[in-house]
């Protein structure tokens, strides 16, 4: 892995974080980021805020840093960062960008 270590982890955070204040995960998300690139940092913050605010009943948000886990990005066919995958409920949905447009994200996530 040629990724440089200092760029590796999102500041002050383990690479793979499940923020799970829940028992039943009726919303399961995976967010791919690239170290502490500005877009990525913003995306993490935005994702958390949205989840906390709009899905208080329970969610699972996994954050994957591609600097550390490029193979996972390959497996999930990630092209750009940040990319948010909505895994549950199906079907899988992809969102790209720093998740600054809350309205669009809510529309995409609460399809059920």
């Amino acid at each position: 892995m040629r990724a440089e270590p200092q760029r590796g982890a999102v500041a002050g955070m383990p690479a793979n974080i499940a923020t799970v204040p829940t028992t039943k995960a009726d919303l399961k998300l995976r967010l791919y980021v690239a170290g502490n690139a500005p877009n990525s940092v913003r995306a993490i913050a935005n994702a958390r805020a949205i989840c906390t605010e709009h899905f208080p009943s329970g969610y699972e948000l996994e954050i994957v840093d591609l600097f550390l886990h490029p193979q996972r990005g390959m497996d999930d066919k990630i092209l750009v960062t940040p990319t948010l995958l909505k895994l549950v409920p199906g079907p899988m949905q992809r969102l790209i960008g720093d998740l600054s447009d809350t309205q669009t994200i809510l529309m995409t996530l609460s399809l059920e």
């Binding site: 040629r2 791919y32 877009n39 390959m74 092209l79 969102l95 790209i96 960008g97 447009d101 669009t104």
Partner: protein, 573 residues
């Protein structure tokens, strides 16, 4: 870093800059993907360099499928040396806010390290970047790619769609940013497609900035550069028959082996017939011959030539003659010539016919196709293949430019034309030029009959060239004239003979008359003799009777000698 693209590595003196970014720009269908993919594929196959192809536009499967015609054996390479990465965003992707390519680059970097790859292609990256909807952001990401390439030491190729190189300023910054810019163009001139390649920029390298024609062949992209400037061919002194003895004679022995012969002329002037004769002659010598025809099927040509007594069928069956008919429209000129080259390499002919070569070059306001034609002829020359080309010239236009400048590189140029006279068209053949052979300056009339093709002397009469029926009439008239003269002469001779006979007859008469006169004369003489004898005797007798020798009586009797003796006697009484 060598690309393996024939011609490109030569004009750039070593290919693309290693460890740098090259931008390949061009409109749709100009061959950007082929250029990039070929660099990867041949890098893997020929130079054992692994590569990654990031496909933003088409799926990897499509790209591999499309390239299957090029014979690079991609599926095999994919296992070991090539990695295709699908990088198309599915339509259902929702965009919310800004993004960047860091993730992608990170993944590629990991893959490159794993494969030990040195080459990477970003094909159609604009498709992804346009989603950013922000020129500044797009620019930032391109810079990111460039920085990333510099850092990783990979040699990068970015393809970029542009509709018009000069007008499309959207990505013009790219040209300043990268180290090498290759511009591909796909132009249509008068309905005919031309692909060209131009190196627009190459930092730290001398490069030929010309546009070079390119061809997409079964081996991939090829750049036909003009080849060595110096022309070196083996030349032959061998003469081969044109198939028409009279024409051979006009050329003082036929075409030179390895020369190229141009037969120009308006439609229907029997250009193809001359080609057919040449083909038949070549085949009868047992030489492999390739007959390339455009817009006319092989069977049709064979049939048509049969109508003037040229039999090609048996040679086709024997395999000596290969007919190759194709459409003019279709692949671009460069591709057509590549296809012809391939045919030539396959059949290895000693004689080649291209009928008509101008099919490839009529739409030819464009330099590229003239270049292509010339290169093709050069190639044939190097292979010592004798080639007979035809070139269509429309009606009156016979200036050299019409023949695409082919005329200037043709060694022998035969022009066929129509002479319209007395309500008919007749074919006339002239040799415009013939390098290295003496040749007749005479116009000949070309006549086609069921029995074959012949060249006839044209008649010059009253300062006019007579052909066809006029010539026939003239011949008839001349014949009649000769006949008349003959009859006159005969008549005269008869008259003279008659006169001679008359003279002879007269001579005979005169002679006879002379004889008669002579006879008469002798009769007279003898009568006179008898008379004088009688007179003498009479006188003797008288004297005897008178017993006198009276001298007067002798005188009287002398007078009476002309009268009968009796009367004399009466006088005497």
């Amino acid at each position: 870093m060598l690309t393996g693209i024939q011609g490109f590595d030569e004009i750039t003196e070593g290919g693309l800059p290693r460890g740098r970014t090259t931008l390949v720009m061009g409109g749709p269908g100009s061959g950007k993907t082929v250029f990039a993919l070929q660099t990867l594929a041949l890098g893997a196959r020929n130079f054992n360099e692994a590569g990654i192809f990031v496909a933003f536009e088409e799926s990897a499967r499509q790209i591999i499928g499309n390239a299957s015609t090029f014979g690079w054996d991609l599926p095999k390479l994919v296992k070991k040396k090539l990695y295709f990465m699908d990088a198309q965003l599915t339509p259902d992707v929702v965009k919310s806010g800004e993004f960047d390519l860091i993730g992608l680059l990170t993944i590629i970097e990991a893959k490159a390290a794993q494969m030990n790859a040195t080459r990477v292609v970003f094909d159609g990256i604009d498709v992804l970047l346009s989603l950013l909807d922000d020129a500044t952001a797009e620019r930032r990401e391109i810079y990111r790619v460039r920085e990333w390439l510099l850092r990783t030491g990979l040699t990068g190729i970015i393809t970029q769609k542009v509709s018009d190189i000069d007008e499309d300023r959207r990505y013009s910054f790219l040209q300043f940013m990268v180290d090498c810019v290759v511009v591909l163009r796909h132009q249509v001139v008068s309905g005919s497609a031309f692909r060209t390649l131009r190196v627009m920029k190459y930092r730290g390298s001398a490069f030929g900035g010309d546009e070079f024609p390119i061809a997409l062949t079964t081996k991939g992209m090829q750049l036909t550069h003009r080849g060595p400037t110096e022309l070196k061919y083996k030349v032959s002194n061998e003469r081969i028959s044109s198939g028409l003895p009279r024409l051979d004679h006009m050329l003082r022995g036929g075409y030179y082996r390895g020369s190229n012969v141009l037969i120009s002329g308006a439609p229907g002037t029997a250009k193809s017939t001359l080609c057919g004769l040449f083909a038949a002659a070549a085949c009868s010598r047992g030489e492999h011959t390739l007959y390339v025809s455009f817009d006319e099927g092989a069977d049709q040509i064979v049939r048509n030539l049969r109508s003037v007594g040229i039999q090609l069928g048996p040679y086709v069956q024997a395999g000596t003659l290969r007919m190759y008919s194709t459409r003019t429209r279709g692949p671009n000129v460069e591709d057509q010539f590549s296809a012809l080259r391939a045919k030539v390499r396959e059949h290895k002919p000693r004689c080649l016919i291209v009928d008509p070569l101008s099919a490839l070059s009529t739409k030819l306001a464009h330099l590229a196709s003239a270049d292509a034609a010339q290169q093709f002829l050069d190639f044939l020359k190097a292979e010592e293949i004798t080639v007979v080309n035809t070139s269509l010239m429309d009606g009156i236009s016979t200036d050299e430019a019409t023949a695409t400048g082919i005329s200037t590189i043709a060694d022998t140029w035969i022009h066929l034309s129509y002479v319209v006279q007395d309500g008919e068209r007749n074919r006339a053949l002239t040799i415009v030029k013939s390098r290295g052979t003496g040749h007749s300056n005479q116009v000949r009339e070309l006549t086609l009959t069921d029995g074959g093709v012949t060249l006839t002397d044209v008649f010059v009469a009253q300062g006019k060239v007579l052909m066809g029926v006029a010539r026939w009439e003239w011949e008839q008239e001349e014949q009649a004239e000769r006949k008349r003269a003959q009859i006159m002469a005969d008549h005269k001779r008869l008259q003279l003979q008659l006169r001679q006979a008359e003279a002879a007859a007269r001579l005979q008469i005169i002679q006879t008359e002379m004889e008669a006169r002579a006879a008469e004369l002798s009769v007279v003489d003898s009568a006179a003799g008898v008379a004088s004898t009688l007179l003498k005797a009479d006188r003797e007798m008288l004297r005897k009777l008178r017993h006198a020798d009276d001298e007067e009586a002798i005188g009287e009797s002398a007078d009476a000698s002309r009268t009968p003796a009796g009367r004399g006697r009466r006088h005497a009484r």
